[in-house]
């Protein structure tokens, strides 16, 4: 990200304003100089102070807590070094949650971004009533994730859900969607895709509108198909947006909580089904930290997630650079 150095306009005509006089008194000049020099810092200070106290400091402190036996209510119970980390890596629930989160990342976020690209490609054509289509695709993003997750949980109900009703019309047996990882994860993925595909489609569309039409039309004259033009010209041209979206949605997906939490209609307090078949890392963190009040262990999980997100963002960045620049 580059910050452009902006300089005062030089050629601007500055007409004298009648009725205004400059008093060149000492205190006034000093006040102005003080204003010029320090006010900018006053303006940006609230961000750094509040962010520092309520976001940066807790994030760093999480790392410190992870080296301790630490209970949320009783507080510090002593330094244990890497003990929590050893426990975590032997914890089958951790690996289970990591697998579920990874599957959600691939099925939910991966599909959602591809779908968004495809949708953006369609919305980028000369459509009549484009405002309606655009508003329609972003509408799901506006509504509450809690309400949406509850509606989907209902749609996926075993005896009563519409999805099973439709499947049984087609002669397919009713599926207990919550019963296993391999049915629950795709179901939860549809909630995520439903909420986010339209949002990212609009972001991609915005970038696509900056791609010069001449490129498109020249390729068209050369006889290239819509599909070929889309993948060889349009997508590589919006590379920064694609990279940004992949990185941001990965960070979001690693922290998936609400959709799977509420998909569990028995409300099992963050375990994601009786066998943890759809418990995500964030749900496990919630369970450890705020159900069992084991701050040390939850902090360790948080810090490992933080490192995973950093590594994943790096890999994503490298990959999407390569993919999006291929032509």
């Amino acid at each position: 990200m580059t910050v452009t150095e902006t300089r005062p306009g030089t050629g601007a005509p500055m007409a004298p304003v009648p009725g205004r006089h400059h008093r060149r008194g000492g205190w006034r000049t000093r006040l102005t100089r003080f204003d010029l020099r320090y006010t900018p810092y006053v303006l940006i200070a609230p961000f750094f102070v509040i962010f520092g106290v309520f976001a940066a400091y807790p994030l760093l402190y999480t790392g410190w807590i992870s080296f301790h036996k630490w209970a949320i209510i009783e507080g510090d119970q002593g330094w244990t070094g890497l003990h929590n980390y050893q426990l975590l890596f032997q914890d089958s629930y951790f690996w289970n949650a990591l697998l579920n989160t990874t599957l959600l990342l691939v099925f939910g976020t991966g599909v959602q971004l591809l779908l968004a690209l495809w949708l953006a490609g369609i919305l980028n054509r000369k459509l009549s009533g484009s405002a309606v289509w655009r508003a329609g695709v972003v509408l799901p993003h506006i509504v509450s994730v809690v309400a949406v997750s509850l509606v989907f949980a209902q749609l996926y109900g075993f005896h009563t859900g519409i999805i099973n009703d439709v499947l049984s019309l087609a002669g397919i047996d009713r599926i207990d969607w919550q019963a296993s990882r391999w049915t629950a994860i795709p179901a939860v993925s549809t909630i995520i895709i439903w909420r986010w595909a339209g949002y990212y489609a609009l972001i991609f569309l915005a970038a696509m509108q900056g791609v010069p039409r001449e490129l498109h039309e020249a390729a068209m004259l050369d006889g290239a198909s819509h599909r070929r033009i889309f993948w060889s010209i349009t997508v590589p041209s919006i590379r920064p947006t694609v990279i940004f979206s992949v990185v941001m949605s990965t960070i979001g997906a690693m922290q998936t909580f609400t959709e799977p939490q509420l998909f569990d209609t028995q409300g099992t307090e963050g375990t994601g089904g009786s066998d943890r078949q759809f418990q995500t890392l964030m749900m496990y963190l919630y369970e450890k930290g705020f159900r069992e009040f084991n701050a040390g262990y939850a902090a360790t999980l948080a810090w490992v997630m933080f490192l995973l997100i950093a590594v994943l963002s790096g890999i994503n960045y490298a990959l999407s650079r390569r993919i999006a620049s291929k032509d």
Partner: protein, 285 residues
């Protein structure tokens, strides 16, 4: 363009999309809208439809009764009031603070400006949710657990908002006006108020809408730090409606419908600006 007139064939290819494209769009729109539609149908029925094997897609006459039951089960007025207080406070403060900071980063010269702005950009990438445990302890120390302050204060600033408002000032506030006001003896705050703020109002409005909606819809942190029986928000009240063993779906979805209604109305009134806002906010490719 120096190209010759396109032939008939290419004009067809590059021209308006055909039925297939509109068919796909209609399908996408239907998929977008169906869960929403369904969530407004169920609250108008009674629970017998839930056990029915036939699909229920038409509204019934039980809406008032169901809404009554929501208010009998949880204090939904209190939840709505709390959500309104939190969302409004966060929105007003966040937009104001980020506008000030964004204006400073875009139009005021000061030492360390680029480095500090880079810090803002980097913090936008931090998964701050992962700091929840110490944040919870901090709230305990401050005595803010189960109070609305615990939800409001950490949300007052965010890096994305600062980034957004800097972009807005950069594009919409003319340097000449800033300088002219300065020459006239206007203070920095005066320049912000009289010159910058009127110019960045559209982008500030878009940010306000997004902040309001995101805050209204926030779930995990309010679930952790608030007490749903004392300080419910709309979202935590919904999840407590949904926490029984035998689920009362028409009840839950009635609550969900009430909680979504304000946002839906705002969206329908402002959808054009919201869409334009998303489009402006995208990183230019």
């Amino acid at each position: 363009m120096t190209l010759a007139l396109p032939s008939r064939k290419t004009r067809q290819a590059s021209g308006r999309p055909g039925f297939l494209v509109y068919g796909v769009l209609v399908a996408v729109l239907a998929a977008s809208l169906f869960p929403l539609y369904y969530s407004f149908v169920l609250p108008t029925r009674d629970n017998s439809v839930i056990g029915d094997s036939a699909l229920t897609l038409t509204p019934g006459g039980n809406l008032v009764h169901n809404i009554q039951r929501v208010y009998d089960t949880v204090d939904f007025w209190l939840a709505l009031r709390n959500s309104l207080i939190v969302s409004t406070t966060v929105t007003v403060c966040c937009v104001l603070l980020s506008s000030l900071a964004g204006f400073a980063f875009a139009k005021l010269p000061f030492r360390g400006r680029n480095a500090l702005f880079l810090a803002v950009v980097v913090t936008a990438m931090l998964p701050t949710q992962l700091g929840m445990i110490p944040l919870y302890m901090l709230m305990g120390k401050l005595g803010w657990i189960a109070t609305l302050k615990a939800v409001i204060v950490p949300a007052l600033v965010n890096a994305f908002a600062v980034f957004w408002m800097r972009q807005a000032s950069e594009e919409s506030v003319p340097y000449e006006l800033v300088e002219a006001a300065r020459v006239d003896g206007c203070s920095t705050l005066g320049i912000f108020w009289h010159v910058a703020l009127p110019a960045i109002r559209p982008q500030a409005a878009v940010l306000a809408m997004f902040t309001f909606m995101a805050t209204w819809n926030d779930f995990m942190w309010p679930l952790i730090v608030l007490d749903p029986s004392v300080t419910p928000t709309v979202q935590t009240a919904l999840s407590s409606l949904a926490s029984g063993y035998a689920l009362d779906y028409t009840l839950i979805l009635s609550g969900a419908a009430i909680g979504v209604l304000p946002l839906l109305l705002v969206f329908l009134l402002l959808s054009r600006q919201i869409v334009a806002g998303v489009m402006q906010g995208a990183v230019k490719g």
